[in-house]
Amino acid sequence: MNTASLYALPVFSMRFVPIWRRNFLVWKKLALASVLGNIADPLITLIAFGYGLGALLQTINGIPYLHFLASGSICMSVMMASSFESLYSTFSRMHAQKTWDALLNAPLSLDDVVLAEMLWAASKSLFSGIAILGVMFMLGIGLHPQTLVVLPLLFLIGMTFASLGLVFNAIAQGYDFFTYYFTLVMTPMIFLSGVYYPVTQLPVWLQMLSKALPLGAAVNLVRPLMLGGWPATPLLDLTILMTYCIASFYLATMLTRRRLLK
């Protein structure tokens, strides 16, 4: 592959649809287990922290702690679902299972495959986001019209972390590599992004860092909507998310081309 075509902008085409459908068809076969798995983790977090810590904390800025936590942790769950899919599952399709090789022998291009994987990981994370919303409604959280605005936001969050995941997928030599991504990138980001406690509890320099993180922006957007209000700085936070999304999707496309089309 020559340098110009390596760095060319991603090509967007509806050819991604049959690839997306392929992944959807696999998911459908295991949907119940997949969604239950995706609900179980946030549910455990909510119960453990919400009731355990909530009993001590009562409220944060007048919001019951359970609500505070739930409205932030849905972003974290969508991030996790999308990251797992775009790392472990995508790597399996690209590397171990060689599904991508079959795709590339058909009249599809690598750009179609990368786009399909990104949109699929985002879709899957949206499915679990919706399931988690269902659980929250049962707990009486998020029963506001604003919650409708949360759905497209969850998809954007899914796309952002799918794109980030695909960057690491493109440079991974094996599954072990993803452990670093989760422990060195995801976990610190969760603690810096106001999921469990307000960012204002952090030292000022960490607060600055937090403002620049995609999960921080996601929580800033979703939490007020879930609680029936409106985000304080929607344009800024949307810009941050979209910048991460677009930049990492471009980088992921380039790195994947470099990996597979040489």
């Binding site: 049959p18 076969k29 299972q97 060689k98 590339l104 022998n105 009249p107 599809l108 089309l261 040489k262």
Partner: protein, 310 residues
């Protein structure tokens, strides 16, 4: 001829790395396939066969040279060209999460074929690959031969004009190989063109109308299998082995064979008149032998040498 060729490759060159570590994989390769023929690419491991296929499919860009696939320039127009092409890859990459029929349906969709049309084709393809009874089986339930047949059926879902087959029978037992050969012959009768890579010489000899022997990315011979053997190799081969074979070679084969080669404890004697060799072996002690006509493997070994490749 090039204008009517279904695949034409001209002065194709591909290198990896740069400077000291620069490695030439495909070295000014030119060949073209006529419609309806089976063309073989033969070469030892690492000769550049798979890279050549990838270049022909537009999956990687050559350093220089031209590929025209079903009338379209590759890699520029590769995606459109692949609409008319089927590929049986070296390793199985069937979808383990799907049944046999689902594998065909999902793959057909990648070509933009309507579900209704794919549904019509599936029963015929399953019959062709003798998998009708396995329609709803999962991939893990299939034997190696069945998987290969399903991969072949999958490559036919778009009714291609040209089929790329990268070592289609590697790892199969003799029964399964014969079954694949039989299906390939049927496809050739139907007018399909096949580009086959293999390192099974009997496979190439049986199936290929023409073949190219490739080594270190270069073409070293091209032609019909029998013509190539006649042009490059003596007609007869006597293989002698056993405890006294090497001593026999020193004393007899040296004089009576046109040339001979020793591989392990076997002596390969090449000659146009095998009778004196056979006579001498008839009463030799501690030497057993096989007398046979020269075949493609002899040609291959003569052209590419006997040393191991990694």
């Amino acid at each position: 001829m090039r204008a009517s060729a279904i695949l034409s490759v001209q002065d194709l060159r591909k290198t990896y790395g740069s400077g000291e570590s620069r490695h030439i994989i495909v070295d000014d390769l030119s060949f073209s396939l006529r419609r309806g023929e089976c063309y073989g690419l033969l070469g030892p491991n690492g000769a550049g066969k798979t890279t050549t296929l990838r270049l022909c499919l537009g999956l990687t860009r050559p350093d220089s040279g031209y590929v025209t696939l079903v009338g379209r320039p590759v890699p520029e127009d590769a995606r459109a060209a692949r609409v008319r092409v089927g590929v049986v890859p070296q390793g199985d990459n069937l979808d383990p999460d799907f049944t046999v029929a689902e594998n065909l349906m999902v793959f057909g969709r990648y070509f933009g074929i309507a579900d209704r049309v794919i549904s019509e084709r599936i029963p015929r393809l399953l019959e062709f690959s003798s998998l009708a009874a396995k329609k709803d089986a999962r991939i893990s339930e299939l034997s190696g031969g069945m998987r290969r047949r399903l991969t072949l059926a999958r490559a036919l879902i778009n009714d291609p004009d040209l089929i790329f087959m990268d070592e289609p029978t590697t790892g199969l037992d003799p029964q399964a190989r014969h079954m694949i050969w039989d299906r390939l012959k049927t496809l050739l009768k139907e007018g399909k063109t096949i580009l086959l890579t293999t390192h099974f010489m009997d496979e190439a000899e049986r199936l290929c109308d023409r073949l190219a022997v490739i080594d270190h990315g270069k073409m070293i011979a091209e032609g019909a299998p029998r013509d190539l053997i006649a042009a490059h190799i003596e007609t007869q081969v006597v293989e002698a082995y056993g405890e006294n074979a090497l001593a026999w070679a020193e004393s007899v084969a040296r004089r009576l064979a046109d040339r001979y080669e020793i591989s392990g404890e076997t002596v390969f004697c090449y000659t146009n008149n095998a009778q004196p060799l056979v006579d001498s072996l008839a009463d030799a002690n501690g030497v057993r032998y096989i007398h046979r006509p020269a075949n493609l493997e002899d040609l291959f070994l003569k052209l590419t040498g006997r040393e191991m490749r990694d």
